[in-house]
Symmetry: C2
Subunit: 109 residues, 2 copies
């Protein structure tokens, strides 16, 4: 499986997107993270595992708890893939400019 496959698949679940949203506010222990969800901690733990295997979340064992931290970098590739199609939903000057600006940056690398 490609990275984009696992990234998009990981994002294709509302619970996992909610976990990401929560982690954007800061590092959180798994137990705290699981609280608001109407499912077992085991289920949340499995979702975190999917996210961590996708590289979207870093998990660090600390004492008896697991601290989860967001790593958004895999999203970068996802947004870059999507941006290639931006002209298809919004073909105004701004989006074109943004598109070619991105390409320019790629060349400059």
């Amino acid at each position: 499986m490609q990275q984009l496959d696992v990234t998009f698949t990981a994002l294709g679940d509302i619970t996992r997107r909610a976990i990401i949203a929560k982690l954007a506010e800061g590092e959180t222990a798994l137990s705290t993270l699981a609280e608001p969800f109407d499912m077992s901690q085991t289920a949340v733990s499995k979702h975190v595992r999917v996210l961590s295997e996708a590289g979207l979340v870093f998990v660090e064992k600390r004492g008896r708890s697991r601290h989860c931290r967001l790593n958004a970098t895999p999203m970068k590739e996802a947004i870059e893939w999507l941006t290639d199609y931006e002209t298809f939903w919004n073909d105004n000057f701004a989006s074109l400019a943004r598109h070619f600006d991105k390409k320019k940056k790629d060349i400059e690398k």
Copy 2:
């Protein structure tokens, strides 16, 4: 299932992303679309169905063939969701500006 769920799930398959890439070059009949793939036309037809149910592809019956056309608009919501996390992988001024510019536009609506 939410729209973002079906959008991200549909994008989480390399064959479906390849179909999208192909359709970006222009409307294509299903048979033509299926040719390059190492799988049955039935399998490709199923993938197109997933994409069409996600609203990413419009299918139009024309004679005995089905013409597939890309509709990238659902990607807009996906990219907007992802953009909220852009600061987490690239916290420079440009990305922050882009972020708040988007927010401003939301308010102006």
